[in-house]
């Protein structure tokens, strides 16, 4: 295990953890319910760590990314349904990320939103074309570390640490009306979805193949997923806690993503604002790249095409055309004028509906001794994996009713 590579891998995971959905829902969760939803972030993070570790292990041992084996495990028809559902979910998510990036650039530069969305789409395409895989991952992941300003800002506003700690205890606040309870339920489902987005697992496992992981890298995989994602989730929790401290008492339920940057502006002034906006910019841009590539990976792997950014674009031509076309489609969704917050709502909703289909084959593959040999899921991984699968299935069933009953969490 190369310590420098490992450190860079962890830092990349930290900087790349937060995307536009987590940003929005962390801020709104804090302003609406105080610290009461911190435990959901922690719970969901453990879930994504478990499945990310499994997907990295499958990549390293079976030398196949998840979607390659998805069709074999689920069969052609169910695999096609899973592919279609995850492509739609990831496409909407990618559109939300591109819209989010354009919004943040608008806050930074004042330039017109749609022009920025177009420019950013082109820049993202160029960056994936030009840079090798490792540089793509590292650039956006490491620059996303500007997000650390949110954690520092939380410390600077002297929050009630005892209440934050209590927020880690699974709870439902007492004295809520029926509608507020339903809204709490919706936020729980939405946070679970935002943290455990399917694209994260597809990207992580394909990334393992891109980086040539073997069984020797299993420890790297485990440390990166546990430490990287664990620390990354602290940034999301910091946004929630700051929101509880600053926005809740001020009657603010952030209606636009730009309000989150005030969390760093209030204690640190203009420099805090700039750092927060830069952190948001690179984290969300990185997520746009990941969602698009995850989709292209899924399509290419399902149909058996050549794939991978470790190859030059012309060495995997159908894969290349896929990710360019997907960026185009995502930009097309942004062009329709649907606002970013609405895209985020739909991304989160579609994602939770797809999650059981995403994680079931992974769970089966990671536990299959024929593929995984002595590295198949042990008792703990099996127990936790199936437990989380049960939870996300229940969340998937509850998602649509909760969305309609609470008008998308707006009460």
């Amino acid at each position: 295990m190369n310590p420098l590579e490992l450190t860079l891998g962890i830092m990349t995971a930290v900087g790349g953890f937060v995307d536009i959905s987590e940003l929005v829902f962390a801020a709104r969760a804090g302003s609406t319910f105080g610290y009461a939803l911190i435990w959901v972030f922690a719970f969901a993070t453990i879930g994504i760590i478990i499945f990310a570790e499994m997907s990295g292990r499958v990549a390293a041992v079976a030398k196949q990314p998840v979607f390659n084996l998805m069709r074999h495990r689920l069969g052609l028809k169910l695999g096609l349904v899973t592919l279609a559902a995850s492509v739609i979910s990831n496409l909407i998510t990618c559109a939300a990320e591109i819209g989010g990036v354009a919004l943040i650039l608008n806050y930074l530069t004042g330039a017109p939103y749609l022009l920025l969305a177009a420019g950013m789409t082109v820049l993202l395409i160029v960056s994936i074309w030009v840079l090798p895989f490792k540089w793509i991952e590292r650039t956006y992941g490491l620059l996303g570390l500007f997000m650390i300003v949110f954690a520092v800002a939380l410390v600077a506003i002297h929050p009630p640490w005892d209440q934050i700690a209590l927020g880690l205890v699974p709870q439902v606040p007492s004295g809520l009306s029926t509608k507020e309870l339903l809204t709490f339920g919706y936020f729980t489902v939405a946070i679970l979805s935002a943290v455990m987005f399917p694209y994260e697992v597809y990207f992580y496992s394909s990334g393992g193949i891109e980086e040539g992981w073997t069984p020797k890298d299993l420890l790297t995989n485990r440390v990166t997923s546990i430490v990287g994602m664990g620390l990354g989730s602290l940034l999301a929790i910091a946004i929630l806690a700051s929101s509880a401290q600053l926005f809740g008492p001020a009657n603010v339920d952030p209606e636009i993503p730009g309000s989150a940057a005030l969390q760093a502006a209030i204690p640190f002034g203009k420099w805090g604002l700039i750092l927060a906006l830069l952190g948001m910019l690179f984290a969300v841009a990185g997520a746009a790249v990941e969602t698009c590539l995850a989709n292209a990976y899924s399509i290419a792997q399902y149909f058996g095409w050549m794939w991978g950014r470790r190859k030059k674009p012309w060495e995997a031509p159908r894969f290349t055309m896929s990710w360019i076309a997907l960026f185009g489609l995502a930009f097309g969704i942004v062009l329709t004028g649907v606002d970013v917050m609405t895209l985020v709502e739909f991304a989160v909703l579609f994602s939770i509906l797809v999650l059981p289909l995403t994680y079931l084959p992974l769970l089966l593959l990671a536990g299959d001794q024929k593929f995984m040999r002595e590295h198949a899921n042990g008792a703990v991984a099996k127990l936790l994996g199936w437990f989380y699968f049960g939870v996300i299935t229940m969340a998937a069933v509850a998602a649509l009713p909760l969305f309609f009953l609470t008008s998308g969490g707006n009460g």
Binding site: A250, I256, G411
Partner: protein
Amino acid sequence: MGRQYLLLFALLAACTRGPDDDLQYIKQARSIAAEWALVNEQANAGRVNVTYVTAMHGWLRDGLLAASSSLSEPKSDYGAEISALLALPSDAAPATLRSHSESLKLIEDALESA
């Protein structure tokens, strides 16, 4: 005859949306007013730059317009509050904005407890 009454009831229900259906827009407007106040407060204290403030004003006003145009009862007291907010200049005093936000919060709380 029973079916005709059912159809009439359904039609009436669809036409008379009322304050309960406007609740989400009241909440939205309440929050936007409060966000606007927070932005202006930070701007007055020199903690945020002009580019950010101008952009935020634009987006907040768009949100308020969207909420206003979605109301089923624009001539209600909450409709009047939102119209009053829209009439304010971008650099309105935070205290003025907060007072509108608080008025909307009272209406919101009353509707939720009804």
